[in-house]
Protein backbone atom coordinates (compact mmCIF):
# COMPACT_ATOMS: atom_id res chain seq x y z
CA UNK A 1 0.00 0.00 0.00
CA UNK A 2 2.68 2.42 0.94
CA UNK A 3 4.61 1.46 -2.18
CA UNK A 4 1.68 2.60 -4.27
CA UNK A 5 1.41 5.78 -2.25
CA UNK A 6 5.07 6.58 -2.81
CA UNK A 7 4.85 5.92 -6.52
CA UNK A 8 1.81 8.14 -6.84
CA UNK A 9 3.49 10.83 -4.77
CA UNK A 10 6.60 10.72 -6.98
CA UNK A 11 4.45 10.79 -10.11
CA UNK A 12 2.71 13.94 -8.94
CA UNK A 13 5.91 15.50 -7.61
CA UNK A 14 7.37 15.42 -11.08
CA UNK A 15 4.31 17.02 -12.54
CA UNK A 16 3.53 20.02 -10.35
CA UNK A 17 0.99 21.45 -12.74
CA UNK A 18 -0.99 18.23 -12.81
CA UNK A 19 -0.91 18.05 -9.04
CA UNK A 20 -2.23 21.59 -8.84
CA UNK A 21 -5.02 20.86 -11.28
CA UNK A 22 -6.07 17.86 -9.27
CA UNK A 23 -6.12 19.88 -6.07
CA UNK A 24 -8.20 22.64 -7.52
CA UNK A 25 -10.35 20.65 -9.90
CA UNK A 26 -13.12 19.62 -7.55
CA UNK A 27 -13.50 22.86 -5.61
CA UNK A 28 -13.27 25.10 -8.62
CA UNK A 29 -15.50 22.93 -10.74
CA UNK A 30 -18.14 22.79 -8.06
CA UNK A 31 -17.79 26.48 -7.51
CA UNK A 32 -17.90 27.44 -11.15
CA UNK A 33 -20.89 25.28 -11.87
CA UNK A 34 -23.00 25.96 -8.84
CA UNK A 35 -22.11 29.41 -7.74
CA UNK A 36 -20.95 31.30 -10.79
CA UNK A 37 -23.42 29.42 -12.92
CA UNK A 38 -26.21 30.51 -10.60
CA UNK A 39 -25.09 34.10 -10.67
CA UNK A 40 -25.19 33.99 -14.45
CA UNK A 41 -28.64 32.44 -14.29
CA UNK A 42 -29.68 35.31 -12.08
CA UNK A 43 -28.55 37.92 -14.55
CA UNK A 44 -30.07 35.98 -17.42
CA UNK A 45 -33.42 35.60 -15.68
CA UNK A 46 -33.64 39.33 -15.10
CA UNK A 47 -33.74 39.74 -18.86
CA UNK A 48 -36.57 37.26 -19.30
CA UNK A 49 -40.18 38.13 -18.72
CA UNK A 50 -43.14 36.43 -17.08
CA UNK A 51 -46.12 36.12 -19.37
CA UNK A 52 -49.12 37.39 -17.41
CA UNK A 53 -51.56 35.10 -19.17
CA UNK A 54 -49.81 31.77 -19.18
CA UNK A 55 -47.89 32.26 -15.96
CA UNK A 56 -44.81 30.91 -17.70
CA UNK A 57 -41.44 32.53 -17.99
CA UNK A 58 -40.79 33.49 -21.61
CA UNK A 59 -37.19 32.78 -22.44
CA UNK A 60 -36.50 35.63 -24.72
CA UNK A 61 -34.20 38.51 -23.91
CA UNK A 62 -36.10 41.67 -23.14
CA UNK A 63 -35.97 44.73 -20.95
CA UNK A 64 -39.64 44.43 -20.05
CA UNK A 65 -38.95 43.12 -16.57
CA UNK A 66 -36.71 46.02 -15.73
CA UNK A 67 -39.47 48.20 -17.08
CA UNK A 68 -41.82 46.59 -14.57
CA UNK A 69 -39.47 47.73 -11.88
CA UNK A 70 -40.15 51.30 -12.73
CA UNK A 71 -43.77 51.29 -11.60
CA UNK A 72 -44.81 53.54 -8.74
CA UNK A 73 -45.32 50.72 -6.31
CA UNK A 74 -41.97 49.13 -6.97
CA UNK A 75 -40.09 52.39 -6.86
CA UNK A 76 -41.72 53.02 -3.49
CA UNK A 77 -40.31 49.73 -2.27
CA UNK A 78 -36.84 50.65 -3.42
CA UNK A 79 -37.00 54.13 -1.90
CA UNK A 80 -38.31 52.78 1.39
CA UNK A 81 -35.50 50.26 1.62
CA UNK A 82 -32.76 52.72 0.74
CA UNK A 83 -34.00 55.27 3.25
CA UNK A 84 -34.17 52.63 5.96
CA UNK A 85 -30.64 51.49 5.14
CA UNK A 86 -29.37 55.05 5.42
CA UNK A 87 -31.11 55.68 8.74
CA UNK A 88 -29.88 52.42 10.20
CA UNK A 89 -26.34 53.24 9.11
CA UNK A 90 -26.36 56.66 10.73
CA UNK A 91 -27.92 55.38 13.96
CA UNK A 92 -25.51 52.44 14.12
CA UNK A 93 -22.54 54.75 13.68
CA UNK A 94 -23.72 57.00 16.49
CA UNK A 95 -24.51 54.16 18.86
CA UNK A 96 -21.37 52.21 18.07
CA UNK A 97 -18.95 55.04 18.59
CA UNK A 98 -18.84 55.36 22.39
CA UNK A 99 -18.42 51.63 22.88
CA UNK A 100 -15.83 51.38 20.13
CA UNK A 101 -13.98 54.32 21.61
CA UNK A 102 -13.87 52.79 25.08
CA UNK A 103 -12.74 49.48 23.67
CA UNK A 104 -10.01 51.00 21.58
CA UNK A 105 -8.59 53.66 23.81
CA UNK A 106 -9.57 53.14 27.41
CA UNK A 107 -9.75 49.42 28.03
CA UNK A 108 -6.87 47.56 29.61
CA UNK A 109 -5.72 44.59 27.52
CA UNK A 110 -7.75 42.13 29.56
CA UNK A 111 -10.85 44.31 29.49
CA UNK A 112 -10.42 44.81 25.79
CA UNK A 113 -10.37 41.08 25.08
CA UNK A 114 -13.52 40.67 27.14
CA UNK A 115 -15.25 43.54 25.38
CA UNK A 116 -14.37 42.16 21.96
CA UNK A 117 -15.78 38.83 22.99
CA UNK A 118 -18.87 40.55 24.35
CA UNK A 119 -19.44 42.21 20.99
CA UNK A 120 -18.60 39.10 18.95
CA UNK A 121 -20.88 36.77 20.88
CA UNK A 122 -24.17 38.30 19.67
CA UNK A 123 -22.67 38.48 16.21
CA UNK A 124 -22.16 34.73 16.16
CA UNK A 125 -25.44 33.80 17.73
CA UNK A 126 -28.35 32.90 15.59
CA UNK A 127 -29.36 35.86 13.50
CA UNK A 128 -32.92 34.71 13.22
CA UNK A 129 -33.32 34.30 16.95
CA UNK A 130 -31.93 37.76 17.56
CA UNK A 131 -34.52 39.25 15.22
CA UNK A 132 -37.26 37.14 16.74
CA UNK A 133 -36.38 38.33 20.21
CA UNK A 134 -37.40 41.82 19.24
CA UNK A 135 -40.88 40.62 18.47
CA UNK A 136 -41.11 39.72 22.12
CA UNK A 137 -39.54 42.89 23.38
CA UNK A 138 -41.55 45.27 21.23
CA UNK A 139 -44.91 43.55 21.65
CA UNK A 140 -47.60 45.87 22.88
CA UNK A 141 -47.89 43.95 26.10
CA UNK A 142 -44.17 43.15 26.24
CA UNK A 143 -41.13 44.32 28.13
CA UNK A 144 -40.54 47.64 26.44
CA UNK A 145 -44.19 48.63 26.69
CA UNK A 146 -44.17 47.78 30.38
CA UNK A 147 -41.02 49.82 31.01
CA UNK A 148 -42.37 52.81 29.11
CA UNK A 149 -45.63 52.69 31.04
CA UNK A 150 -43.71 52.33 34.27
CA UNK A 151 -41.84 55.57 33.68
CA UNK A 152 -45.03 57.25 32.62
CA UNK A 153 -44.14 57.80 28.97
CA UNK A 154 -47.00 55.69 27.64
CA UNK A 155 -48.60 58.72 26.04
CA UNK A 156 -45.42 59.48 24.09
CA UNK A 157 -45.37 55.99 22.65
CA UNK A 158 -49.03 56.36 21.59
CA UNK A 159 -48.21 59.58 19.78
CA UNK A 160 -45.25 57.99 18.00
CA UNK A 161 -47.28 55.03 16.91
CA UNK A 162 -49.93 57.32 15.56
CA UNK A 163 -47.51 58.96 13.14
CA UNK A 164 -48.44 58.22 9.52
CA UNK A 165 -45.45 56.67 7.74
CA UNK A 166 -43.42 55.17 10.52
CA UNK A 167 -46.05 54.23 13.05
CA UNK A 168 -48.32 51.24 13.32
CA UNK A 169 -50.64 49.34 15.63
CA UNK A 170 -47.72 48.33 17.80
CA UNK A 171 -43.99 48.71 17.81
CA UNK A 172 -43.64 45.11 16.79
CA UNK A 173 -45.63 45.73 13.60
CA UNK A 174 -44.24 49.02 12.36
CA UNK A 175 -41.36 50.57 10.46
CA UNK A 176 -40.08 51.94 13.75
CA UNK A 177 -39.86 48.47 15.16
CA UNK A 178 -38.18 47.31 11.99
CA UNK A 179 -35.67 50.10 12.37
CA UNK A 180 -34.88 49.15 15.95
CA UNK A 181 -34.39 45.51 15.04
CA UNK A 182 -32.11 46.37 12.10
CA UNK A 183 -30.08 48.59 14.37
CA UNK A 184 -29.73 45.80 16.88
CA UNK A 185 -28.66 43.02 14.53
CA UNK A 186 -26.12 45.04 12.54
CA UNK A 187 -24.61 47.00 15.41
CA UNK A 188 -21.62 44.64 15.96
CA UNK A 189 -20.73 45.01 12.28
CA UNK A 190 -20.26 48.70 12.89
CA UNK A 191 -18.54 48.45 16.27
CA UNK A 192 -15.72 46.19 15.15
CA UNK A 193 -14.27 48.17 12.21
CA UNK A 194 -14.62 51.44 14.11
CA UNK A 195 -12.85 50.02 17.15
CA UNK A 196 -10.12 48.66 14.91
CA UNK A 197 -9.68 52.03 13.19
CA UNK A 198 -9.59 53.89 16.51
CA UNK A 199 -7.05 51.48 17.86
CA UNK A 200 -4.72 52.23 14.99
CA UNK A 201 -4.49 55.92 15.93
CA UNK A 202 -1.12 56.33 17.62
CA UNK A 203 -1.20 57.97 21.03
CA UNK A 204 1.51 60.33 19.89
CA UNK A 205 -0.86 62.02 17.44
CA UNK A 206 -3.30 62.95 20.16
CA UNK A 207 -0.50 64.02 22.44
CA UNK A 208 0.88 66.24 19.70
CA UNK A 209 -2.51 67.80 19.15
CA UNK A 210 -2.98 68.71 22.77
CA UNK A 211 0.63 69.77 22.97
CA UNK A 212 -0.13 72.28 20.24
CA UNK A 213 -2.87 73.75 22.41
CA UNK A 214 -6.04 71.94 21.32
CA UNK A 215 -8.92 71.38 23.71
CA UNK A 216 -9.93 67.66 24.00
CA UNK A 217 -13.08 68.24 21.96
CA UNK A 218 -11.12 69.98 19.23
CA UNK A 219 -8.68 67.11 19.11
CA UNK A 220 -11.61 64.77 18.79
CA UNK A 221 -13.18 66.70 15.97
CA UNK A 222 -10.06 67.35 13.96
CA UNK A 223 -7.85 64.35 14.66
CA UNK A 224 -9.76 61.38 16.06
CA UNK A 225 -12.91 61.60 14.00
CA UNK A 226 -11.26 61.94 10.58
CA UNK A 227 -8.94 59.04 11.39
CA UNK A 228 -11.89 56.93 12.50
CA UNK A 229 -13.66 57.67 9.23
CA UNK A 230 -12.32 54.62 7.34
CA UNK A 231 -13.67 52.40 10.10
CA UNK A 232 -17.03 54.13 9.97
CA UNK A 233 -17.07 53.76 6.22
CA UNK A 234 -16.22 50.06 6.44
CA UNK A 235 -18.95 49.48 9.00
CA UNK A 236 -21.40 51.38 6.86
CA UNK A 237 -20.75 49.01 3.98
CA UNK A 238 -22.06 46.19 6.12
CA UNK A 239 -25.04 47.97 7.59
CA UNK A 240 -26.09 49.41 4.26
CA UNK A 241 -25.71 46.26 2.21
CA UNK A 242 -27.22 43.96 4.81
CA UNK A 243 -30.28 46.17 5.19
CA UNK A 244 -30.82 46.51 1.46
CA UNK A 245 -31.22 42.80 0.90
CA UNK A 246 -32.91 41.66 4.07
CA UNK A 247 -36.40 40.21 4.29
CA UNK A 248 -36.37 38.59 7.69
CA UNK A 249 -36.51 41.76 9.79
CA UNK A 250 -39.28 43.50 7.89
CA UNK A 251 -41.07 40.17 7.60
CA UNK A 252 -40.99 39.72 11.35
CA UNK A 253 -41.59 43.27 12.50
CA UNK A 254 -42.91 45.19 9.55
CA UNK A 255 -46.33 45.89 8.17
CA UNK A 256 -47.63 45.46 4.66
CA UNK A 257 -45.25 48.06 3.26
CA UNK A 258 -42.70 45.84 1.57
CA UNK A 259 -38.93 46.07 1.46
CA UNK A 260 -36.78 44.90 -1.44
CA UNK A 261 -35.97 41.56 0.17
CA UNK A 262 -39.61 40.81 0.78
CA UNK A 263 -40.49 41.77 -2.78
CA UNK A 264 -37.86 39.38 -4.11
CA UNK A 265 -39.16 36.58 -1.93
CA UNK A 266 -42.76 37.25 -2.81
CA UNK A 267 -42.23 37.38 -6.54
CA UNK A 268 -40.26 34.19 -6.84
CA UNK A 269 -42.64 32.30 -4.62
CA UNK A 270 -46.12 31.26 -5.61
CA UNK A 271 -46.24 33.89 -8.34
CA UNK A 272 -43.27 32.21 -9.95
CA UNK A 273 -42.09 35.56 -11.30
CA UNK A 274 -38.44 34.75 -11.01
CA UNK A 275 -37.45 37.37 -13.62
CA UNK A 276 -38.94 40.16 -11.57
CA UNK A 277 -37.35 38.84 -8.42
CA UNK A 278 -34.03 38.75 -10.22
CA UNK A 279 -34.48 42.28 -11.50
CA UNK A 280 -35.27 43.46 -7.99
CA UNK A 281 -32.07 41.86 -6.73
CA UNK A 282 -30.14 43.88 -9.25
CA UNK A 283 -31.13 47.02 -7.36
CA UNK A 284 -29.22 46.39 -4.12
CA UNK A 285 -26.29 45.13 -6.17
CA UNK A 286 -26.23 48.31 -8.22
CA UNK A 287 -26.68 50.54 -5.19
CA UNK A 288 -23.89 48.74 -3.34
CA UNK A 289 -21.65 49.01 -6.40
CA UNK A 290 -22.06 52.78 -6.42
CA UNK A 291 -21.73 52.97 -2.66
CA UNK A 292 -18.55 50.91 -2.66
CA UNK A 293 -16.98 53.20 -5.25
CA UNK A 294 -17.91 56.24 -3.20
CA UNK A 295 -16.72 54.75 0.04
CA UNK A 296 -13.47 53.45 -1.36
CA UNK A 297 -12.16 56.97 -1.44
CA UNK A 298 -12.71 57.22 2.26
CA UNK A 299 -10.29 54.37 2.74
CA UNK A 300 -12.94 51.89 3.86
CA UNK A 301 -11.22 48.98 2.11
CA UNK A 302 -8.11 49.40 4.16
CA UNK A 303 -10.18 49.29 7.30
CA UNK A 304 -11.99 46.07 6.49
Amino acid sequence: MSGLGRRLSTFLYRRPRLALSLLLAFPLLGFAVFYLGSLSALVLQSFFHLDGFTGQVVRRLTLATYGDLLTRANLDIVARTVVMAALVTVAAATLAFPLAYSMARYASPRMKALLYLAVLLPLWSSYLVRVYSWKLILAKEGVLGWVIDAVGLGWALERLLALPVIGGPSLSVSPMGTFLAFLYVWLPYMILPVAAALERIPDTLLEASSDLGAHPWTTFRHVTLPLALPGLAAGSIFTFSLTLGDFVVPGTLGNSALFIGQAVLAHQGTAGNVPLAAAFTAVPMAVMGVYLLAVRRLGAFDAL
Partner: protein, 342 residues
Protein backbone atom coordinates in the same frame (compact mmCIF):
# COMPACT_ATOMS: atom_id res chain seq x y z
CA UNK B 1 40.16 12.41 -1.09
CA UNK B 2 39.18 8.79 -1.61
CA UNK B 3 37.26 7.06 -4.36
CA UNK B 4 36.92 7.92 -7.99
CA UNK B 5 33.19 8.55 -8.07
CA UNK B 6 32.42 11.96 -6.63
CA UNK B 7 29.67 12.08 -4.03
CA UNK B 8 28.01 14.95 -5.88
CA UNK B 9 28.68 16.06 -9.42
CA UNK B 10 27.08 19.10 -10.95
CA UNK B 11 27.54 19.48 -14.67
CA UNK B 12 26.65 22.89 -16.11
CA UNK B 13 23.65 23.20 -13.85
CA UNK B 14 21.42 26.23 -14.20
CA UNK B 15 18.26 27.20 -12.39
CA UNK B 16 16.20 29.98 -13.81
CA UNK B 17 13.29 31.78 -12.19
CA UNK B 18 11.74 33.69 -15.01
CA UNK B 19 14.48 36.00 -16.23
CA UNK B 20 16.64 35.56 -13.18
CA UNK B 21 19.45 32.99 -13.25
CA UNK B 22 19.75 31.97 -9.65
CA UNK B 23 22.30 29.31 -10.59
CA UNK B 24 24.27 29.89 -13.78
CA UNK B 25 26.16 27.06 -15.47
CA UNK B 26 27.68 25.65 -12.31
CA UNK B 27 29.97 22.64 -12.57
CA UNK B 28 31.29 21.11 -9.37
CA UNK B 29 32.68 17.85 -8.09
CA UNK B 30 32.29 17.14 -4.41
CA UNK B 31 34.44 14.20 -3.31
CA UNK B 32 33.25 11.42 -1.09
CA UNK B 33 33.91 12.05 2.58
CA UNK B 34 35.05 15.64 2.31
CA UNK B 35 33.81 18.74 4.10
CA UNK B 36 32.87 21.02 1.22
CA UNK B 37 31.68 24.58 1.69
CA UNK B 38 29.73 26.79 -0.66
CA UNK B 39 30.61 30.33 0.21
CA UNK B 40 29.13 33.54 -1.09
CA UNK B 41 27.06 36.62 -0.28
CA UNK B 42 23.25 36.51 -0.03
CA UNK B 43 21.59 35.83 -3.33
CA UNK B 44 24.69 34.30 -4.90
CA UNK B 45 22.95 31.01 -5.64
CA UNK B 46 24.61 28.79 -3.04
CA UNK B 47 21.39 27.93 -1.23
CA UNK B 48 19.60 27.27 -4.51
CA UNK B 49 22.42 24.94 -5.46
CA UNK B 50 21.95 23.12 -2.20
CA UNK B 51 18.24 22.77 -2.79
CA UNK B 52 18.96 21.39 -6.25
CA UNK B 53 21.14 18.71 -4.74
CA UNK B 54 18.51 17.93 -2.11
CA UNK B 55 15.75 17.66 -4.69
CA UNK B 56 13.53 20.56 -3.62
CA UNK B 57 14.09 22.16 -6.99
CA UNK B 58 14.82 20.78 -10.42
CA UNK B 59 17.55 22.32 -12.60
CA UNK B 60 16.45 24.19 -15.70
CA UNK B 61 19.44 22.78 -17.55
CA UNK B 62 22.38 20.60 -16.67
CA UNK B 63 22.89 17.33 -14.84
CA UNK B 64 23.14 16.40 -11.19
CA UNK B 65 24.67 13.06 -10.23
CA UNK B 66 24.73 11.56 -6.76
CA UNK B 67 27.40 8.90 -6.46
CA UNK B 68 27.32 8.44 -10.18
CA UNK B 69 23.56 8.10 -10.45
CA UNK B 70 21.59 10.80 -12.21
CA UNK B 71 19.21 12.48 -9.82
CA UNK B 72 16.85 14.10 -12.30
CA UNK B 73 13.20 13.62 -11.34
CA UNK B 74 14.01 12.01 -8.02
CA UNK B 75 12.01 13.61 -5.22
CA UNK B 76 13.83 14.39 -1.94
CA UNK B 77 12.60 11.26 -0.25
CA UNK B 78 14.17 9.07 -2.91
CA UNK B 79 17.61 10.64 -2.61
CA UNK B 80 20.18 9.39 -0.15
CA UNK B 81 20.73 12.97 0.95
CA UNK B 82 19.58 14.71 4.13
CA UNK B 83 19.38 18.40 4.96
CA UNK B 84 19.87 20.51 8.07
CA UNK B 85 17.70 23.58 7.46
CA UNK B 86 18.54 27.14 8.32
CA UNK B 87 15.48 27.47 10.57
CA UNK B 88 16.01 23.88 11.81
CA UNK B 89 12.44 22.95 10.70
CA UNK B 90 11.83 20.83 13.77
CA UNK B 91 8.28 19.48 14.06
CA UNK B 92 6.75 21.42 16.95
CA UNK B 93 4.06 18.89 17.73
CA UNK B 94 6.57 16.06 18.23
CA UNK B 95 9.03 15.48 21.02
CA UNK B 96 12.77 15.56 20.42
CA UNK B 97 12.87 11.78 20.27
CA UNK B 98 10.05 11.67 17.76
CA UNK B 99 11.75 14.34 15.70
CA UNK B 100 15.06 12.57 15.61
CA UNK B 101 13.47 9.19 14.95
CA UNK B 102 11.19 10.52 12.22
CA UNK B 103 13.14 9.13 9.27
CA UNK B 104 13.31 5.71 10.93
CA UNK B 105 9.61 5.79 11.76
CA UNK B 106 8.76 6.47 8.13
CA UNK B 107 10.88 3.53 7.12
CA UNK B 108 9.08 1.30 9.62
CA UNK B 109 12.16 0.53 11.69
CA UNK B 110 10.95 -1.43 14.75
CA UNK B 111 10.49 0.60 17.89
CA UNK B 112 13.23 -0.95 19.99
CA UNK B 113 15.90 -0.41 17.40
CA UNK B 114 14.60 3.05 16.66
CA UNK B 115 14.85 4.12 20.30
CA UNK B 116 18.36 2.73 20.56
CA UNK B 117 19.55 4.61 17.50
CA UNK B 118 17.87 7.82 18.64
CA UNK B 119 19.76 7.67 21.94
CA UNK B 120 22.97 6.97 20.06
CA UNK B 121 22.46 10.01 17.90
CA UNK B 122 21.56 12.27 20.80
CA UNK B 123 24.75 11.17 22.50
CA UNK B 124 26.71 11.95 19.35
CA UNK B 125 25.46 15.52 19.29
CA UNK B 126 25.89 15.74 23.05
CA UNK B 127 22.27 16.12 24.00
CA UNK B 128 21.53 13.11 26.18
CA UNK B 129 18.41 13.38 28.24
CA UNK B 130 16.35 15.95 26.32
CA UNK B 131 14.46 13.28 24.43
CA UNK B 132 11.15 13.91 26.08
CA UNK B 133 11.07 17.65 25.57
CA UNK B 134 9.41 19.63 22.81
CA UNK B 135 11.43 21.85 20.44
CA UNK B 136 9.83 24.96 21.92
CA UNK B 137 11.47 24.15 25.25
CA UNK B 138 14.99 24.04 23.83
CA UNK B 139 17.54 26.77 23.27
CA UNK B 140 18.73 27.70 19.78
CA UNK B 141 21.92 25.72 20.11
CA UNK B 142 20.07 22.66 21.32
CA UNK B 143 17.56 22.85 18.48
CA UNK B 144 20.42 23.04 16.05
CA UNK B 145 21.85 19.81 17.39
CA UNK B 146 18.49 18.07 17.26
CA UNK B 147 18.20 19.06 13.61
CA UNK B 148 21.64 17.62 13.00
CA UNK B 149 20.81 14.39 14.83
CA UNK B 150 17.58 14.06 12.91
CA UNK B 151 19.42 14.33 9.62
CA UNK B 152 22.33 12.08 10.53
CA UNK B 153 20.33 9.19 11.92
CA UNK B 154 19.40 8.03 8.43
CA UNK B 155 23.08 7.53 7.54
CA UNK B 156 22.77 9.61 4.39
CA UNK B 157 25.70 9.48 2.04
CA UNK B 158 25.64 13.27 1.78
CA UNK B 159 24.60 15.76 4.43
CA UNK B 160 23.57 19.25 3.33
CA UNK B 161 23.75 22.09 5.82
CA UNK B 162 22.12 25.44 4.98
CA UNK B 163 23.79 28.13 7.10
CA UNK B 164 23.05 26.13 10.25
CA UNK B 165 24.98 28.35 12.63
CA UNK B 166 23.60 31.69 11.48
CA UNK B 167 21.24 32.17 14.41
CA UNK B 168 23.77 31.43 17.14
CA UNK B 169 25.89 33.91 19.04
CA UNK B 170 29.62 34.09 18.43
CA UNK B 171 30.94 31.88 21.21
CA UNK B 172 28.38 29.18 20.53
CA UNK B 173 29.00 29.40 16.84
CA UNK B 174 32.72 28.85 17.22
CA UNK B 175 32.09 25.94 19.53
CA UNK B 176 29.65 24.36 17.10
CA UNK B 177 32.09 24.80 14.23
CA UNK B 178 34.60 22.64 16.05
CA UNK B 179 31.95 20.07 16.96
CA UNK B 180 30.53 19.85 13.48
CA UNK B 181 33.95 19.29 12.02
CA UNK B 182 34.66 16.60 14.62
CA UNK B 183 31.37 14.85 13.91
CA UNK B 184 32.01 14.91 10.20
CA UNK B 185 35.37 13.31 10.59
CA UNK B 186 34.04 10.73 12.96
CA UNK B 187 31.05 9.74 10.82
CA UNK B 188 32.89 10.05 7.54
CA UNK B 189 29.88 11.43 5.65
CA UNK B 190 30.29 14.01 2.90
CA UNK B 191 29.21 17.40 4.26
CA UNK B 192 28.09 20.16 1.91
CA UNK B 193 28.01 23.35 3.94
CA UNK B 194 26.49 26.65 2.82
CA UNK B 195 27.61 29.85 4.52
CA UNK B 196 28.22 33.53 3.88
CA UNK B 197 30.81 33.70 6.66
CA UNK B 198 34.18 33.31 5.01
CA UNK B 199 36.03 32.72 8.26
CA UNK B 200 33.72 29.82 8.99
CA UNK B 201 34.28 28.37 5.54
CA UNK B 202 38.04 28.71 5.81
CA UNK B 203 38.10 27.18 9.27
CA UNK B 204 35.99 24.09 8.58
CA UNK B 205 36.34 23.09 4.96
CA UNK B 206 38.54 20.64 3.17
CA UNK B 207 37.64 22.51 0.01
CA UNK B 208 35.31 25.34 -0.80
CA UNK B 209 33.60 27.01 -3.74
CA UNK B 210 33.11 30.76 -3.89
CA UNK B 211 29.81 31.80 -5.45
CA UNK B 212 28.94 35.11 -6.99
CA UNK B 213 25.65 35.92 -8.78
CA UNK B 214 24.90 32.30 -9.53
CA UNK B 215 28.34 31.38 -10.79
CA UNK B 216 31.26 29.65 -9.17
CA UNK B 217 34.27 31.93 -9.21
CA UNK B 218 36.79 29.54 -7.71
CA UNK B 219 37.03 26.10 -6.16
CA UNK B 220 39.95 25.04 -4.00
CA UNK B 221 41.33 24.39 -0.55
CA UNK B 222 41.08 27.27 1.93
CA UNK B 223 44.76 28.05 1.49
CA UNK B 224 44.48 28.06 -2.28
CA UNK B 225 41.44 30.32 -2.30
CA UNK B 226 42.87 32.71 0.25
CA UNK B 227 46.49 32.88 -1.01
CA UNK B 228 45.75 32.65 -4.72
CA UNK B 229 42.38 34.27 -5.40
CA UNK B 230 41.43 33.81 -9.03
CA UNK B 231 39.27 36.91 -9.42
CA UNK B 232 38.87 40.32 -7.87
CA UNK B 233 35.64 39.18 -6.28
CA UNK B 234 37.26 36.23 -4.53
CA UNK B 235 40.16 38.37 -3.44
CA UNK B 236 37.77 40.83 -1.88
CA UNK B 237 35.18 38.46 -0.47
CA UNK B 238 37.52 35.97 1.13
CA UNK B 239 39.46 38.00 3.59
CA UNK B 240 40.35 41.59 2.95
CA UNK B 241 42.43 42.50 -0.03
CA UNK B 242 44.09 45.53 -1.42
CA UNK B 243 43.45 45.70 -5.13
CA UNK B 244 46.06 47.68 -7.02
CA UNK B 245 45.25 48.91 -10.50
CA UNK B 246 46.27 51.38 -13.15
CA UNK B 247 49.15 53.76 -12.73
CA UNK B 248 50.28 52.49 -9.35
CA UNK B 249 50.28 48.91 -10.60
CA UNK B 250 52.40 49.96 -13.55
CA UNK B 251 54.81 51.87 -11.33
CA UNK B 252 55.29 48.93 -9.01
CA UNK B 253 55.36 46.01 -11.41
CA UNK B 254 56.02 47.54 -14.81
CA UNK B 255 52.70 46.28 -16.14
CA UNK B 256 49.23 47.81 -15.81
CA UNK B 257 47.71 44.43 -14.92
CA UNK B 258 45.78 44.64 -11.62
CA UNK B 259 46.90 42.56 -8.66
CA UNK B 260 45.91 42.10 -5.05
CA UNK B 261 47.99 42.08 -1.91
CA UNK B 262 46.76 40.92 1.50
CA UNK B 263 46.87 43.42 4.39
CA UNK B 264 48.86 41.14 6.63
CA UNK B 265 51.57 40.78 3.99
CA UNK B 266 52.36 44.51 4.14
CA UNK B 267 54.82 45.95 6.65
CA UNK B 268 54.40 49.48 7.89
CA UNK B 269 57.69 51.39 8.26
CA UNK B 270 58.68 54.88 9.22
CA UNK B 271 58.49 57.36 6.35
CA UNK B 272 61.71 57.22 4.40
CA UNK B 273 62.95 54.02 6.10
CA UNK B 274 65.09 51.58 4.18
CA UNK B 275 63.28 48.95 2.16
CA UNK B 276 64.75 45.44 1.72
CA UNK B 277 65.91 44.51 -1.75
CA UNK B 278 63.32 43.46 -4.25
CA UNK B 279 60.40 44.69 -2.24
CA UNK B 280 57.76 47.15 -3.37
CA UNK B 281 57.17 50.34 -1.46
CA UNK B 282 54.66 53.17 -1.45
CA UNK B 283 54.43 56.31 0.62
CA UNK B 284 51.30 57.10 2.53
CA UNK B 285 49.64 58.74 5.49
CA UNK B 286 47.67 57.01 8.22
CA UNK B 287 43.98 57.81 7.81
CA UNK B 288 42.51 55.51 10.43
CA UNK B 289 43.69 53.03 13.07
CA UNK B 290 41.25 50.48 14.54
CA UNK B 291 42.37 48.53 17.59
CA UNK B 292 41.07 44.94 17.38
CA UNK B 293 42.73 43.39 20.39
CA UNK B 294 45.18 40.96 18.87
CA UNK B 295 45.94 43.20 15.90
CA UNK B 296 45.36 46.69 14.61
CA UNK B 297 43.84 47.51 11.26
CA UNK B 298 45.15 50.62 9.55
CA UNK B 299 43.76 52.50 6.59
CA UNK B 300 46.53 54.29 4.73
CA UNK B 301 45.95 57.06 2.24
CA UNK B 302 48.11 56.65 -0.82
CA UNK B 303 48.47 59.30 -3.45
CA UNK B 304 46.51 58.68 -6.64
CA UNK B 305 45.31 55.27 -5.53
CA UNK B 306 42.63 53.67 -3.35
CA UNK B 307 43.48 53.57 0.37
CA UNK B 308 45.44 50.54 1.54
CA UNK B 309 44.40 48.32 4.40
CA UNK B 310 47.28 47.10 6.53
CA UNK B 311 47.07 44.73 9.48
CA UNK B 312 49.79 44.67 12.11
CA UNK B 313 49.89 42.30 15.04
CA UNK B 314 50.01 44.04 18.37
CA UNK B 315 53.19 42.37 19.52
CA UNK B 316 54.17 45.37 21.61
CA UNK B 317 51.22 46.46 23.66
CA UNK B 318 52.30 50.06 23.33
CA UNK B 319 53.16 51.65 20.04
CA UNK B 320 50.22 52.14 17.74
CA UNK B 321 50.84 54.45 14.85
CA UNK B 322 48.50 57.35 15.07
CA UNK B 323 46.36 58.93 12.35
CA UNK B 324 48.17 61.63 10.43
CA UNK B 325 51.60 60.02 10.59
CA UNK B 326 53.48 59.59 7.37
CA UNK B 327 54.49 56.01 6.74
CA UNK B 328 56.10 53.79 4.14
CA UNK B 329 54.47 50.50 3.15
CA UNK B 330 56.65 47.62 2.00
CA UNK B 331 55.93 44.13 0.80
CA UNK B 332 57.41 41.36 -1.25
CA UNK B 333 56.27 41.03 -4.83
CA UNK B 334 55.96 37.28 -4.23
CA UNK B 335 52.70 38.00 -2.49
CA UNK B 336 51.15 39.66 -5.51
CA UNK B 337 48.16 37.89 -6.89
CA UNK B 338 47.17 38.56 -10.44
CA UNK B 339 43.51 39.11 -10.91
CA UNK B 340 41.28 37.93 -13.70
CA UNK B 341 38.40 40.29 -14.37
CA UNK B 342 35.15 38.54 -15.13
Amino acid sequence: MSGSVPAVRLTRVSRRFGDVRAVDEVSLDIEDGEFFSMLGPSGSGKTTCLRLIAGFEEPSTGKIELHGVEAAGLPPYERDVNTVFQDYALFPHMSVEENVGYGLMIRRVPRAERERRVQEMLDLVRLPGVGGRRPAQLSGGQRQRVALARALINHPRVLLLDEPLGALDLKLREQMQVELKAIQQRVGITFVYVTHDQEEALAMSDRLAVFCEGRVEQVGTPAEVYERPATAFVADFVGVSNVVVGLLAETLTGSPRPFSIRPEKIRMLEAGAAVPDGQCAVEGRVQDAVYLGSHTRYVIDVERAAPFTVIEQNRDATAMTRPGRAVRLAWSADHHRSLVER
